[in-house]
């Protein structure tokens, strides 16, 4: 049942990515182009996405779930070097490609040289990180 829930959530997530414009690299690059022709519309994606998660989490944090572990709490508030370096490198890659991991996978539904290279390189980058000890998200 947990797997079925995850599958359906993946579908809804992907349709949300499509509707919001997150699958379009040019749109992402426009959003990050704050010193040029800035396209702020992706802020309107972030707002409801974060708001809905926050409402659900606030209502259910620490409570049991029907098909898994309890709803997690805030998690550690540790700000360490890997967080800054990793997020920094991720941002550079995001600005170069206009593609983050979710869209890299969903865009494979329309295979092209661009979508295959973007997703393949992202997977290779994740695999490269295996040389480091595991961190929790």
């Amino acid at each position: 049942m947990k797997n079925a829930v995850a599958f359906v959530c993946g579908i809804v997530f992907a349709i949300g990515l499509g509707l919001s414009g997150m699958l379009q690299p040019a749109k992402i690059i426009g959003f990050l182009d704050v010193a040029g022709r800035w396209d702020p519309s992706l802020l309107f994606v972030m707002g409801p996405a974060v708001g809905i998660v926050l409402a659900a989490w606030a209502a259910r944090r620490g409570r049991p779930t029907p098909w898994g572990a309890d709803v997690p709490g805030k998690g550690p508030a540790v700000l360490d070097a890997p967080l800054f370096v990793g997020a920094g490198l991720f941002g550079i890659g995001w600005g170069i490609t206009g593609v983050c991991p979710g869209p890299a996978v969903t865009n494979l539904a329309a295979p092209s040289a661009f979508t295959l290279v973007a997703c393949g390189a992202m997977l290779a980058g994740v695999a490269l990180s295996f040389v480091r000890p595991r961190r929790s998200p």
Partner: protein
């Protein structure tokens, strides 16, 4: 125009919230990809199912709204290969990507999520600025 962004964001939030309250799991895509590639014990099944859902959702989009899928990129393929490597490696080193830090982290009032999001938006803007200036 922004109606689409709001509706899309609401769907993304609904999916992440449902996964969180029904299974206790975080819809952070880079962490999910990581678990699938590693063959992570006890987590592999739902993580594979979520990624298959992302692909199936892409197929739904292709049938119903094909214009929403990427048709190409403003960047060259070698740049995309380099950027993609940074996206995957950086997300794992930093413990999250747009969905993990940005949506699920900030949605749980996580300091790491907030700081990660601010950092990757800043370096992303810097990369876009430099590429526009020097290309």
């Amino acid at each position: 125009m922004n109606w689409h962004a709001l509706a899309g964001g609401a769907l993304i939030g609904t999916a992440a919230a449902a996964l969180l309250v029904l299974t206790g799991k975080t819809a952070g895509v880079s962490g999910i990809v990581d678990g699938v590639l590693r063959g992570e014990k006890g987590e592999w099944g739902w993580k594979v199912a979520f990624l298959l859902g992302l692909l199936a959702g892409g197929v739904v989009l292709r049938v119903t709204m094909p214009e929403t899928l990427a048709s190409g990129s403003p960047r060259t393929l070698p740049l995309i290969a380099l950027g993609g490597l940074l996206v995957g490696f950086g997300a794992r080193l930093g413990g999250g990507c747009t969905s993990g830090h940005g949506v699920c982290g900030m949605g749980r009032l996580s300091l790491r999520g907030l700081v990660g999001t601010v950092v990757f938006m800043a370096t992303g803007a810097l990369a876009v600025f430099l590429l526009r200036k020097f290309s």
